[in-house]
Symmetry: D2
Subunit: 366 residues, 4 copies
């Protein structure tokens, strides 16, 4: 019931194929199709452990539908080192973020919808899905070629588009768990065991989750204008499960449980797995703000991630040793607003302007 | 008449200031203010040599106005090596292109213009310029800080904004000379000694030239709607002068002459320096297309840069040695359309998807 | 009593000087001269915090002699990023380790000693020290130039050579505290608060500590052959204080105390600061062994650093997801001998052959 | 007659095998076994083109013996980019040069030879070769593992050791053709079409050529002490064929011809291919000297590579723009001795201490 298949997502200078193993697991029962991928950013390895633990736990669940698991999704990003660390956040040649190269929807949905019969919404949905997959396959054939990142992203996308629930596993640099949740899917946010939620506008800016849910949200809106209250055929989320450059099998099992809780909510499994009781905070994506280093310095990080801080509270201490007779060695960095620090930079040596923290402002409980 | 001043554009982790020397040259005559900068991309060093030769030639010209020269404009980008080469196209931490971090105009120009008296256009221009500089200075004070690239770009921009003619010197990887010219300034394109011209839409996407001319083009349009035919107060261009990682003092002197030819056209100098007679090709920026490597390979480049090629002509040969008994060792890469190759990739070993060539399509003579 | 001076240790491509601030602290009492430096490897920032805390504590001590403090000793290494992390272990152009470029002693000590009068050993010592400093200064004048690393190292070395006690602060990647101690100085090992000690042969392989003590050990041996039992005029140690990419002011203060304990032992301070009671393990440098990744994998580290492990004990779990139907997802990595793991690799994604652990074998208590 | 086989030389973090295709070509005639490899340094791609052209030419030659061809020998080094260029000179994690990780001979040859019968030298040779290969295979089994580079190098070495003539193809950064020739094989130097020859002492410092010829030179010496004048059973050379990051099929064919000229000299082919008439210069390896940048600067390279220069002749011009009012913009770099510049640095932006040139001094014609 666990089948494996390999897809090619690129080719290296030596001619060697870049391949990714695709696992499909089912128990022969009908139900939603779930797609999970991990490690599109090379240093964010923990998602692989989560997928492994999830697969293990699924084996003792009652599964309706099918789960597709794509671990180690970006072999070039994962294998690219610079010094001891993995240099896998962006294409080392172009600097483009690996998770900003998915294909946006160029279909004129309004025009297309006019040509469909609205009597059979299921057929509309089925045809729309086919159209999306075709569009991705067509893009893969461009006579001018694609970027290295598009070769990877479009192939993963063509696969993900054939599923109903899409979960993209990432991590922050040094981070507490957080969830990117499309606003139209806000109800699902509390079914994961994640305390910090970023509510994304229903827009596309190149990421996998957006690429998956956005066309369906366009369709839903247009149908709504026709008086038809249709559900979202596709749900998509990005889960940021802790810190990069770290494998922790116990934490991975906890996170597998959190994903199962969502799958239970979506009736993919029958087992009684409920979300943890916990305080969950959310803010709009526009209120998720970056705090940059005001100076070049060595940094001692002080903020407790995931916990509300008051404006003016110390987030970090900055050490400078340029002139100890005239300048203080240590200056404090304060929260510029009431905020929840969600992640901080991975290194303790920062240039002026380095993104030191990302903080949720104007946050609220959900 | 040559004065020097140093500005700080950032601070390194050790606390050391990143500084850039600013040279100002004049001969005491009134006239336009010219700003030239070079080497915002770290490997594109040739512009420094051009500025040096230009300064030398200016000393024997009759100069009206003032010339500001900013060589070695991005010290972090220039000093950042990875292996033997300069890794200076993007911030090594974030991957963001150093030339995509200038400040866009957030002023509501329409609203602002309503509050001005249109009787004194010169005053409108003067106040608008002040407003732009103020906006840049305000952005430098953000309580959330700025990125490392913004620290650099905003400071260069605040300086450039106080000038009338702005020239940003770059190079391609392996490249023939080419010019990014705003469409509204198309007349000036033939005054440089550059054979390939990319006509840019009047839009902003983060680069220095756009940041400088775009607000003025907005203003010009709005004045035009009021029946006022006002000139562009600011002209801005990006010149790509050959290949990166190369200093060639003779070629630099040729390019200095080309810039002087434009300055003569703008009456900044009185000397009789005319543009070279040469065939000049142009195309719209949207027709300037990237051709990506269809496979991973070793590459022998064949195209002659700057010269029209027919669709189907061989641009490169791709060597693979994976399986010589079953696959040909050498395959050809053909032009997918009639096109002028302007630049090609710097390395001979490429992954699938590498941007091998940039080509002008739908080109025309100017 | 704290004076500051700046030395130049290199020059960047932009022409900017690489400078290091040198602090000298004394209380006007005679005594040994102590040299401490930190952060020659760019990511090993914690030593800077230790030096800061040490300076603070020294102010309330009774100090005989003088302490020279060189924090942020390698500005190029510290400021060189690649991705989020500091790429500061080796010259990014040549790959040569920054701590392997100090000048070896090319003096024929035997020949030189024959020309000295052995009646005045103090004069011999004084002249020998002068000779060493002169040799370093001469090397800085080579008509063929020096490498970038030699420019840095020789200048630091010329400074350090003028001191009696030399301490070079480093960190491991993820590491417990450990000490590189020359065998001839083994008695001092127990005066630091460091549980793991590597006993170095009295040889030179390019590092600062070796460069400082090795010529004196040569001299001591030759004097011993003349029946003169002379002390080591210079002591030198490398302290590895925890993990890289981390500033921890509390741990830094603990380590400052440990250094003071050694300085008390050397009568540099009068205050009653005693070494902590703790189990201290040592092994010969040749028994400090590297364990390499047997395969490419994701790694969960299990070993407790600084603690004896039995042969066969699990040090790490290796995750692979290539073929879950045929291979186990998780394999264990076992200690190949009874050993104390001292440090492990910084990243959780490793190629085959990556140095996963360094372990003390054939260790003993001291 | 062309067979292909694939060997594994490592494993990436994702679990993907690093493989290298091995081609074997013969025409069924007995004769020497020749091993050629290319591209152990990732950016030095031209050797692949040379091997391709050589294989093509061999097909129309009369070949005695067998030729083994290993192109793209270091897939990790070739595929590792940083920015546009290949970062393939050293392991990106450790900084260790890929061509300094071959296995040195740890056999006590003197002791071993005592146990052999010297009546049958051929048997001695055969057994010695077996011993060397066994030693390499044993090293591959270490319970502590090997470095990533050793995994690659030892496997290539075990293969090369089974051949009689070993040629390792490299390139310089920007370089004229040059040859590393063991002194004991000096006679062969004039059979290649290479104008600059470095005469290597008969020592081992980690490179492929040394690893191959050095044990045989030890054996030859010991036999000589027994009054037996035995030939070198194995010859090994490193050929540096031009510049890195460049594929030039025409130049590759010229170089294929040069290799054939050597193979004719060794009677591997019967065809009448003679070495070109040309001036060939040689010097001892110790006289092959590095000239480092005296300051940080932009560099215009002036020296003509491969041609004798007089002491004091201009090799490069260094541009600085720090303070044009007080310092000259351009300073000259002169040859510190009569010398032949063989290669120069690949980039035009250099820090103080960068290896700008390598020059042959005390050179002589051969």
């Amino acid at each position: 019931m666990l089948s494996i298949e390999t897809i090619q997502v690129g080719e290296l200078a030596t001619g060697q194929a870049l391949t990714v193993p695709i696992y499909r697991y089912h128990q022969g029962r009908l139900g939603p199709k779930v797609y999970l991928q991990a490690n599109v950013h090379g240093a964010e390895v923990q998602g692989n452990a989560v997928l492994l633990q999830l697969l293990e736990r699924l084996k003792s669940c009652t599964l309706n539908g099918e789960v597709t698991i794509v671990a180690l999704a970006n072999p070039m990003g994962i294998n690219q080192k610079s010094g001891e660390f993995t240099l896998g956040r962006f294409d080392p040649i172009t600097g483009v973020n690996w998770n900003r190269q998915y294909l946006g929807n160029h279909i004129d949905v309004q025009h297309w919808l006019k040509q469909q019969s609205l009597n059979d919404i299921e057929a509309v949905y089925r045809d729309f899905r086919e159209l999306l997959v075709e569009e991705t396959h067509a893009a893969l054939q461009s006579s001018w070629g694609l970027t290295t990142g598009q070769h990877l992203c479009y192939r993963l996308q063509a696969l993900a588009q054939q599923h109903d629930l899409v979960i993209d596993l990432h991590t922050g640099p040094k981070s507490t768990r957080h969830l990117y949740c499309p606003k139209v899917l806000a109800d699902a946010a509390s079914t994961f065991n994640i305390g910090c939620v970023l509510m994304m506008p229903n827009e596309f800016s190149g990421a996998m989750d957006e690429a998956c849910f956005h066309p369906w949200w366009q369709l839903k809106q247009l149908l709504s204008q026709q008086g038809i209250d249709a559900p979202m055929a596709v749900e998509a989320f990005t889960l940021e499960l802790g810190s990069q450059e770290l494998i922790d099998l116990k934490a991975a099992d906890d996170d597998a449980l959190g994903i199962l809780s969502y799958l239970k909510y979506k009736q993919v499994i029958d087992d009684d797995i409920q979300p943890e009781r916990m305080t969950r905070y959310a803010c709009e994506l526009k209120d998720y703000r970056k705090l940059h280093a005001p100076k070049g310095a060595m940094v001692e990080y002080h903020a407790t991630l995931g916990v509300p801080h008051k404006q003016g509270q110390v987030l970090a201490k900055l050490l400078s040793m340029e002139n100890l007779n005239e300048q203080p060695a240590i200056t404090e960095l304060h929260a510029p607003a009431d905020a929840i620090p969600v992640l901080h930079f991975a290194s303790a040596a920062v240039h002026q302007g380095t993104e030191l923290f990302k903080l949720m402002t104007n946050y609220y409980e959900i």
